[in-house]
Subunit: 291 residues, 2 copies
């Protein structure tokens, strides 16, 4: 049970976290701050937060739990804004989709206090955003990846893990590097490919005609291309090194296929497709995994 949650960012992710914590009886009071005062006010009107804070620093004052629910690119400036009021026993968490950049920012800003920060990636989201769409069930049953570093304090790490489990989330731990490589492979690269496919088709004279013929295979393959441009811009830039590494692996696999197609090597082509087909047929959705 926490006394006071300092919520920085009262949008979909932050607002839903506050609602979930309250419903579970895990927090007594929520003090919230958003960059836009109207968002903070709306969050209070909707009962998502109890008290409006006029700054990030004041949202953190007196908090024993702090959640950064801001775009990953804003992590460093947010930590700078609050570092002077960080108590040694506070638990600070984030909800960003990339972890190496977040951890680097935390190291730079928090220095010897970085141990109170537990980097978290709850694998959840919605097509919609904003505090109006905050939902106490956004996290329920969704996987949360924790990426502690060597200086992360055990107390905070165990608190974070217990907290997410109390919200109904399966928790896994891995290094920030493994996290970023994994999500580059299974999420960021597929998004990049889906964006490229849409742009590739619409750039052609007959693109609209082509699209009018597309069926369920295309529908499913391209669904993730409809993601939020601002969020994906930040994720792709934040994780560009791992993304670039995954893109190289992908281009290698693609050119293997292309070469045997061009040379009419049907046996080898069937072997490569069979490998892919078996891998996909044997794959199972992770318990609690989400976008």
């Amino acid at each position: 049970m926490f006394e006071q949650l300092g919520l920085i960012g009262c949008g979909l992710m932050g607002g839903s976290f506050a609602l979930a914590m309250k419903r579970a009886g895990l927090v007594r009071r929520v003090v919230g701050y958003s960059k836009s005062p109207s968002t903070t006010e709306r969050a209070r009107q909707l009962g998502v937060i109890d008290v409006e804070a006029p700054s990030a620093l004041l949202a953190v004052s007196g908090a024993d739990l702090v959640l950064l629910a801001v775009p990953v690119a804003a992590t460093e400036s947010t930590l700078k804004a609050i570092r002077h009021l960080i108590a040694p026993n506070v638990l600070i968490m984030d909800v960003g989709s990339t972890k190496r950049d977040v951890v680097d920012a935390a190291r730079r800003v928090l220095k010897q206090d970085v141990g109170v920060f537990v980097p978290c990636h709850p694998a959840t989201g919605r097509e919609v955003s904003g505090v109006e769409n905050a939902d106490a069930d956004l996290y329920t049953g969704k996987q949360v990846v924790l990426t502690p570093i060597e200086r992360t304090r055990t107390v905070q790490l165990e608190q974070a893990e217990a907290l997410w489990r109390a919200l109904g989330c399966p928790v896994v731990r891995m290094s920030p590097e493994t996290h970023d490589a994994a999500f580059a492979a299974i999420s960021h690269l597929p998004h990049l490919l889906a964006f490229a496919l849409m742009n590739s088709i619409t750039a052609q004279d007959q693109g609209a005609k082509f699209l009018s013929l597309a069926g369920p295979g295309f529908r499913d393959f391209s669904r993730i291309a409809a993601g939020d441009p601002e969020m994906w811009r930040d994720v792709l830039v934040a994780n560009r090194e791992e993304l670039s590494a995954q893109l190289s692996h992908f281009q290698h696999a693609l050119s293997d296929l292309q070469r045997v197609i061009d040379h009419g090597q049907t046996d080898e082509l069937q072997r490569l497709i069979t490998r892919a087909s078996h891998a996909r047929a044997n794959w199972q959705l992770a318990s609690g995994a989400s976008d």
Copy 2:
């Protein structure tokens, strides 16, 4: 109403067509042939065909409607096997996923008789194959693309169009070239990319770990990678020219994205993602379209 359907290939596609035609009262008798005698026998036992033919030629004898439901790579040899018994008023159709190679084969083999052949691509299919899975509803409501050439006879073309409409299929007409370009863009290329992604991940040491974290976005994006390797081998090879053209368009769009990510050009990146996101959000599944 047709007197006799000569069905060449009694698998999922051919068997389902026979069942649909019978149920609609559009054919009196079905004479079937499959390369494997046990398939032909099984088709008769299941009531999919009425009479087993010992050869493709004998399946065609006396037929006023012929359906080629064989892999596209077998089109030419099948047409060679039946050309001596093609009557001037017969309607011959196929169900292949590529059309330029099928049309070329028909021109080569049928020569001055090519006008009786109406190239068709019913956009339907199943994860399963074989006559045991034949289903009178496989075609119901699914879009059929007809790709007539300049020598196609009007009578046969109108017969074909009326037949598919009577089975409940929306019909569109286009050139074989446009068809192949369109399906390369919306179906064959997405399959190729999905195959490459699966192979790219599984080739990495941590591939299994990465896959264990994947969520619904990955699930939908990669679903088509589980397609039938033999069928996709044939389709990708048959349509390799258009596929290669679409792959060039795609690589161009991908490198545009990659460049702005590498250079940290966030405004331009957001613009490119927004274009893709809007295109996908505005796209609608075609009436009756399928894989």
